[in-house]
């Protein structure tokens, strides 16, 4: 948590994404309690209805679940589910944009592959 909100994207989507990031990075563990709508509203200074919209999106996707009277919890298997979903959109979100920018800069496929291979060696 504690990332900064931007104006590039709907706030509720950013809230959902930040919770997902915390699950991916194991800041939030499965079967652990997730931050409440009011906590999110307070920390990010946003309307609780917006925070609730973000949380409910994750409930609909089976990433969080509600324990009545207690709050929201991370579903078992949530991490794997987020991983799978993000892998599916990885091409659209990252690769396609990379290729488009490379094309308009006249960077060839071979050069690109070299860059990625080189980067990999360094890292």
């Amino acid at each position: 948590m504690q990332a900064v909100l931007t104006q590039e994207k709907s706030i509720y989507l950013q809230i959902a994404e930040m919770i997902e990031n915390d699950i991916l990075r194991e800041v939030l563990l499965e079967e652990e309690q997730a931050p409440s709508t009011n906590e999110l509203a307070r920390v990010y200074a946003i309307n609780p209805a917006t925070a609730a919209k973000g949380v409910n999106l994750l409930v609909d996707e089976g990433i969080l679940y509600k324990k009545r009277g207690i709050g929201m919890f991370v579903m078992a298997g949530a991490k794997e589910k987020i991983r799978r979903k993000r892998r599916e959109s990885f091409y659209q979100d990252y690769v396609a944009r990379l290729l488009e920018e490379a094309r308009s800069l006249g960077i060839s496929r071979e050069e690109l592959i070299q860059m990625i291979a080189g980067q990999d060696k360094e890292g």
């Binding site: 909100l5 104006q7 590039e8 994207k9 709907s10 706030i11 509720y12 009011n38 509203a41 307070r42 990010y44 200074a45 946003i46 309307n47 609780p48 209805a49 917006t50 919209k53």
Partner: protein, 304 residues
């Protein structure tokens, strides 16, 4: 003699204005406004100077007589109805050079006067906020800075505990840290009580995330009343070569058309179900609430 008994209004039914008209002399400021405020929401009221925001809030809180129309709380008329009025707090912007009576008052006197109207006035909260803002009850309003006057109006609004609370330009004069504090305080109070708030402001983007609904007032009429999130996500700025932008924008609601060299740009407000065509070579960018407001309220309004 049959005298009509006033009942305590059912605040859960909301505050409703119907056909609100207000004239000052020959000048008509509001031209027949219909507005329903639901309980438990934070509304933002935005509009240019002179759009009628303060007038509208004063009419909804029965501080100012209507020329025509009615305001009802839980179905009961609000005008001269002490039970209804005690449920609605309009914390006006304080102006020390303005009304002579107020300027001579001390902070404590001003708060006591307000407290007399509201049966659930919270003294504990009043002193907590006074201490927080480092204000003294014995200070004269006339001696306070604009920011400190805003703090007095914020204390009045918060401590009133009124189920319907209107704040007129609470952010005016506050520095950036005090503004952030104010919005956090507002959200905390809202989370704890579910009171309805209407906030008017010119510093729109700072407030946007806090406002569940946005009401845009233009020339004495309501131009927009929408869920803020939905409004912002239905507006986009598109730009590119003129023929491409024209093709993309065809049949859509277009605002603020502008040319930058060979490229043109405009804001598009998509209706429900509408989408931008995918076969146009255009750039699509999100727009902030402030930009949307500026595009909608600009002279000329809808372009093309």
């Amino acid at each position: 003699m049959a005298r009509e008994e006033r009942r305590t209004p059912d605040i859960r039914q909301g505050l409703t204005g119907r056909g609100i008209v207000k004239r000052y002399g020959k000048k008509e400021v509001l031209h027949g406004i219909d507005l329903a405020l639901e309980p438990g929401k934070i509304y933002g009221l935005i509009g240019r100077n002179g759009a009628g925001k303060t007038t509208l809030l004063s009419l909804l809180s029965a501080q100012n007589p209507l020329t025509a129309g009615e305001v009802l709380l839980g179905g009961e008329p609000v005008w001269e109805n002490i039970l209804a009025m005690s449920c609605i707090c309009f914390s006006r912007e304080l102006n020390p050079s303005g009304e002579a009576g107020t300027a001579a008052m001390k902070v404590g006197q001003y708060l006591d006067t307000a407290a007399a109207y509201f049966p659930h006035w919270d003294r504990e909260m009043e002193s907590r906020l006074l201490a927080h803002f480092q204000l003294e009850r014995r200070e004269k309003l006339a001696k306070l800075s604009k920011g400190m006057l805003s703090m007095v109006t914020i204390i009045t609004a918060m401590a009133s505990k009124a189920p319907y609370t209107f704040l007129d330009e609470p952010a005016a004069g506050l520095d950036v840290i005090a503004r952030e504090e104010f919005y956090r305080m507002l959200l905390e109070e809202y989370a704890a009580t579910g009171r309805t708030f209407v906030i008017s402001t010119h510093i729109i983007d700072e407030a946007a995330a806090v406002l569940e609904e946005t009401i845009i007032l233009k020339d004495g009429e309501i131009l927009v009343k929408e869920n803020t999130e939905e409004l912002v996500s239905s507006c986009v700025y598109i730009s590119g070569r003129e023929e491409e932008v024209r093709k993309a924008a065809q049949g859509l609601r277009v605002y603020h058309w502008e040319a930058v060299g060979r490229s043109v740009g405009c804001m598009v407000w998509l209706r429900e179900g509408e989408e931008l065509p995918s076969d146009c070579a255009i750039q699509v960018q999100p727009v902030s609430l402030q930009k949307i407001f500026a595009a909608l309220c600009q002279e000329g309004g809808e372009a093309q």
